[in-house]
């Protein structure tokens, strides 16, 4: 795969990861009062870093976000571990990253348009 497609693929994987994480956060907040519910999170940055370090034929399609249960946060008495503050923090980071990826993708397309001189 060429380098150009590669960047678009990576950005696409990033945008998809942020979309998935937004769903995980929404699910966590919706279950803030559900007894025994453990919060969900999305693993993407670590997988991306691993893919970037491997150096061999890095392709965006291969970096796929995964949903997982952390099971590390302290439990509340009803066995639920959702903290509203943590979820708000994750949401802010998530939307900032999403915005960054969308803008980078827009820039990439503009660059392609410039190259093709579409008026």
């Amino acid at each position: 795969m060429s380098k150009t497609n590669n960047i678009i693929g990576l950005l696409e994987a990033g945008i998809r990861a942020e979309g998935l994480r937004q769903r995980a956060i929404a699910n966590n907040v919706a279950n803030i009062g559900t007894p025994g519910y453990r919060s969900l999170d999305v693993k993407f940055e670590k997988l991306l870093a691993k893919a970037l370090q491997s150096q061999q034929g890095l392709e965006g399609d291969e970096v796929e976000a995964e949903i997982y249960q952390a099971n590390e946060t302290p439990l509340k008495p009803n066995g639920n571990d959702v903290s509203l503050e943590t979820e708000v923090g994750k949401m802010i980071k998530n939307s900032l990253k999403h915005k960054a990826y969308i803008r980078l993708l827009g820039n990439k397309y503009r660059q392609l348009n410039d190259a093709m001189d579409i008026k």
Binding site: E45, G89, K93, L96, R103, G106
Partner: protein, 134 residues
């Protein structure tokens, strides 16, 4: 590869929000038990206090260190009819002072607001940076 670095302030502000949340939980326990003359151990309710500590290194968030008991004396109240009364008719009441608790509640609320303000401002700063990507 450090990816999270620019999100440090967000994590710190969130840890502040969580710490003050705990602090408010402790204060509400104190206020709710301000008249609990028997907390189950043959003793009135003992006032609790949340102690915080700095997280890892110099620039870190805050986290709950421990919840300590206030060892000051209980206040005796004359109530001979109470089953908890001693021979002189005095009942030992919790060492909770509502006025102190309300002041602490105000401090905790303000600190929570301050952390929320930092969070919001930092978010705006990042949005400004993202404007450069347009």
């Amino acid at each position: 590869m450090e990816i999270k670095s620019s999100f440090g302030p967000i994590d710190i502000a969130i840890s502040g929000l969580q710490a003050q949340n705990k602090s408010i939980a402790v204060i509400s326990s104190n206020v709710a038990n301000a008249r609990t003359s028997n907390a189950g151990k043959g003793e009135p309710y003992r006032r609790l206090e949340a102690k915080f500590k700095t997280d890892k290194g110099q620039i870190g968030g805050v986290s709950l260190d421990k919840i300590t008991e206030d060892m000051s004396d209980f206040s005796p109240v004359l109530d001979p009819g109470s089953p908890d009364a001693d021979k002189q008719g005095y009942v030992r009441m919790p060492n909770v002072d509502i006025a102190t608790e309300l002041i602490n509640l105000d401090i905790a609320t303000r600190t929570y607001q301050a952390n929320a303000a930092v969070l919001k401002r930092y978010q705006q700063m990042m949005e400004t940076s993202l404007e450069l990507l347009r």
